[in-house]
Symmetry: C2
DNA sequence: GCCTGTGAAGCTATTCACAGCT
DNA sequence: AGCTGTGAATAGCTTCACAGGC
């Protein structure tokens, strides 16, 4: 199975290729894409092996074909719906971020415990009370949740989502979730990031 | 030099240990901490070798000592100041997140191009116009910036910050920054995370 | 000449497995 | 008996380096 790192880089290559396409470029060499993505040419070529796209010696890779191949690889066949749990500053930022970016992957519903938010629409996304999570996950066929609640609510929300059949969790709460093996969890912990930057910023002369 | 992964896990262990300390635990075994952090006991023990903390067979590690050792390792000797660039939803969320969390690592200033934000205080953090970045980085001895601007502003802000002497960048903008080797950059790209969760959520039977 | 595709080498990270301690 | 600390083994990732093609 394709490693996480590779899938992550494919996502990055895709966005760089979209820029290139917008600017009218038809072809790109591995060393150019590597520079744009912040990695090495050999790595780009190896990663692209997994999407079975093939370049030519003369012009490198065809931008449009490559976008197609990466899309075929990364995107679901049918559109995939996600839900956001916890409509704070971070949750709102994420809603704004993804609005209409990928037709095959969209945030279909947002949940919060605050009654003043319920019934409103944020960035085109309807807000529901936490209590409706199971019903709406089922009704909208939601397979992914993004958790942006405070730390103390995260596990309970995750449990409900998993019980309702969710298969992937993107967790921004600074806790380690206890989740069954067959559900994919990606943690994004800003405290870790900042402490790491602080640490390494002091290591260079 | 200590690998990034290890530094990240130390940050996680620390927060789990803080919970344990709050709950009154005095000692912890590697397998307990491993479960709390979502990794394996052998990895915990190996990671803890780098902070030169040493456990006992009978009771495992002493929570307070371990917190001390990790702090000595991770924290700067003098307090380290960061600046936030781009006061949108994400920026505000981050300000709220870090307010008063670590005495040795704090966000001293926030910057934005929107004049209505200038002069206000958010989560205890004063807001300045972008144009004052160099002066305030110098005046407050800021060594880290957190970039939460839209994609198209990120490189320009990063260039200014680097020119002003910043040594670490935490970048949330979905672009690959071109930055000198001696400045540490950590990228956190939510699009990548979500696409990855979407991809792997489909791979399990 | 300068590219891609890839076997093989080199490197990094994780996990095993056990000696040594209490 | 059950833990830590760690050499050694394994697994995973990146980079080299070159054959093959235009």
């Amino acid at each position: 199975m394709t490693p996480e790192k590779v899938v992550g880089r494919l996502s990055i290559y895709r966005r760089r290729l979209e820029e290139l396409a917008r600017q009218g470029f038809e072809n790109v060499f591995s060393h150019v894409l590597a520079k744009m993505a912040g990695c090495k040419p050999a790595q780009v070529r190896r990663d692209l092996m997994v999407v079975r796209s093939t370049g030519s010696t003369k012009h490198g890779y065809n931008v449009r074909e490559l976008l197609q191949s990466i899309g075929d690889f990364l995107d679901p066949r049918e559109a995939q719906a996600a839900a956001l749990i916890g409509i704070g500053g971070l949750g709102r930022a994420i809603l704004g971020y993804f609005e209409g970016r990928r037709p095959k992957l969209f945030i279909a519903a947002a949940f919060d415990s605050d009654p003043t938010k319920i019934g409103t629409t944020m960035n085109g996304c309807p807000c529901y009370p936490d209590s409706q999570l199971p019903q709406i996950i089922a009704a909208d066929n939601i397979s992914i949740v993004i958790i942006t609640t405070p730390a103390d609510a995260a596990q309970a929300m995750a449990d409900i989502a998993v019980a309702a059949g969710v298969k992937g969790i993107l967790n921004f709460a600074p806790v380690t979730l206890k989740i069954p093996e067959d559900v994919f969890v990606e943690n994004s912990d800003m405290t870790v990031y900042l402490e790491r930057v602080a640490y390494f910023s002091r290591q260079n002369p």
